[in-house]
């Protein structure tokens, strides 16, 4: 709870800084503030509690994921400094929106009442609509924002509809009460319908097939930093929320429900990977890659009762490598008007360090040891096999193979092609973010227990 309040306060502080003309201090102060809040979250981790009539329930799960979101936001905000160089007047707005988005995200994993859940998801979504469309002179950005908005609000309608049915069945929005009743009484059919509809809405948010269509377009059109946000923070938030929703309200999923998850999971992996093969735009490619990773993350739902640790590990690994990759992409495409793979030609010579970081992050996403991505997949496979869904694992493995095809396309471009132009100077922050995130990724690979054991 304190986390949420502090984050909201920090957002307001950002706006105040602009008013008082401390523009230069916004980024550092925000980062420091977020790090402080991280400490606050740590305190909450050890003291699970519920606040304000169960509106906010802080559990280990929520605390850990909140911490992850905060870390990711720190990275994102650090990257903002360079990204918004040319938009100095608006920087406070951007930062504030991101902070509020974080607030929404935290609300989404620590809700104790569906009202908080709904508001959280809306805060997050609306922030994203804005960020996606934020480059207002760019037609692509406009289009991305519009598409995202149209489909997103449609999905919100679905979620709302679902919540409505849940309410109809239970007469309450309180998660604890719903959980209790869902175990005991015979339920009207409204309840599963509601759950299904909410799930569908969340599947849209994590961009699972067939609700994924928005993702590539929006990722491609949005400003790169927004894409970074979407592909790391937002995806993680959405899957964590979905996980929490399902664990909270429907402890044992029916077989048919599981079948649907399996189908969607396999379809997401397959479509995402296959589609990514022939993309020229890196952002678009990573969008499809994100879709396939969504499929992987959905595998955690197959063994929902004890896969929280794996989910956390997978999302951490994925988002850290995503941050690292995007940091490099930001660097490479800084002064270009597109993000074609051709821009990466010769990066291996021009800037070996950045190239190495990107390579490492791509290898992590592809699931090559010793990066965290490998262990993430490994743990996931282990648990899925234990749960008896070998077929999903086989599909996942085949997809991992396909995914190498496009991840390596980028690596090939970096090392096997001649550079088009001279190397440019790399801003320090980009270096720092890229290296820190990839190092975290590797450390996570070497000591997986650190994260894995947080949620048992």
């Amino acid at each position: 709870m304190n986390t949420l309040i502090a984050i909201s306060g920090l957002g307001v502080l950002c706006l105040l800084f602009e008013i008082f003309n401390f523009r230069k201090a916004i980024v550092p102060v925000t980062i420091i503030g977020l790090l402080a809040i991280l400490g606050l979250t740590y305190a909450e981790f050890n003291a699970p509690a519920s606040f304000y009539n169960n509106m906010i329930v802080v559990s280990k799960f929520s605390a850990v994921f909140s911490a992850l979101f905060i870390v990711l936001t720190v990275f994102l905000i650090a990257l903002s400094h360079d990204f918004y160089e040319d938009h100095q007047t608006k920087i406070s707005d951007f930062i504030a929106i991101k902070i509020f988005m974080l607030a929404g995200a935290v609300a989404m994993v620590s809700f104790g009442n569906l009202a908080m859940f709904f508001l959280g998801i809306e805060v997050l979504s609306i922030s994203l609509y804005i960020l996606a469309a934020s480059n207002r002179l760019n037609v692509k950005s406009n289009e991305a924002g519009m598409k995202y908005f149209l489909m997103g609000s449609f999905a919100s309608g679905i979620i709302l509809f679902g919540i409505c049915f849940i309410y109809g069945a239970m007469g309450s929005f309180d998660v604890a009460e719903i959980t209790e009743w869902s175990r005991s009484a015979e339920l009207p059919i409204w309840f599963p319908i509601g759950i299904t509809l909410v799930t569908i809405g969340m599947l849209f948010k994590i961009a699972a097939v067939p609700f994924h269509f928005w993702a590539p377009d929006v990722y491609e059109g949005s400003p790169t930093l927004t894409t970074t946000t979407m592909s790391t923070l937002v995806k993680v938030v959405a899957i964590a929320t979905l996980y929490k929703l399902l664990t909270a309200m429907n402890a044992d999923l029916s077989d048919t429900y599981i079948n649907i998850i399996i189908v969607i999971s396999i379809a997401s992996m397959t479509v995402g990977n296959i589609m990514a093969l022939k993309q020229n735009n890196v952002k678009r490619m990573l969008a499809f890659s994100g879709i396939s990773h969504a499929g992987f993350m959905l595998m955690t739902l197959l063994n929902i009762s004890n896969s929280a640790g794996n989910l956390l590990y997978y999302t951490t690994a994925y988002s850290l490598s995503g941050i690292a990759a995007f940091a490099v992409i930001l660097y490479v495409c800084k002064n270009k008007n597109n993000e074609d793979i051709a821009n990466f030609n010769g990066l291996g010579k021009n800037n070996p360090l950045m190239a190495a970081v990107l390579t490492a992050s791509l290898l992590s996403m592809a699931g090559i040891p010793i990066f965290a991505g490998f262990f993430a997949k490994m743990f996931l496979f282990t648990q899925t096999i234990e749960a008896g869904y070998l077929i999903v694992v086989i599909a996942a493995v085949i997809n991992s193979i396909i995914s190498v095809g496009y991840y390596f396309k980028l690596i090939l471009a970096m090392y096997n092609k001649e550079a088009n132009e001279e190397a440019t100077k790399t801003p320090f922050v980009l270096y720092a973010v890229a290296i820190v995130s990839i190092l975290l990724n590797i450390v996570l690979g070497l000591f997986p227990s650190v994260v894995l054991d947080l949620l048992g």
Partner: protein
Amino acid sequence: MDNILNQIGIENYIFLSVILFCIGVFGVLYRRNAIVVFMSIEIMLNAVNLLFAAFSTYHQDAQGQVFVFFSMAVAAAEVAVGLAILVSIFRNMHTIDVGNLKNLKG
């Protein structure tokens, strides 16, 4: 006071709101004019709001109505942002035809 549902039945409210919701969906699919699409989404949200109110009566519980407030707030916020995006699209592209949004594809 008599419960109105004894006379009308919760099912009818459900059907009404389902059909209304579906009309909204239909609108989203059917029209290319962004404004009308927005309106369709509003219809969807209203359908849900109606159902909330009905369920609220069904359970004799005010929480459903409280939720409608939030839903309205969200709708308002969405419309504000959506229209802002729409305006900037119109400025750049001079059209609000959703079908023309095809720069991003493939």
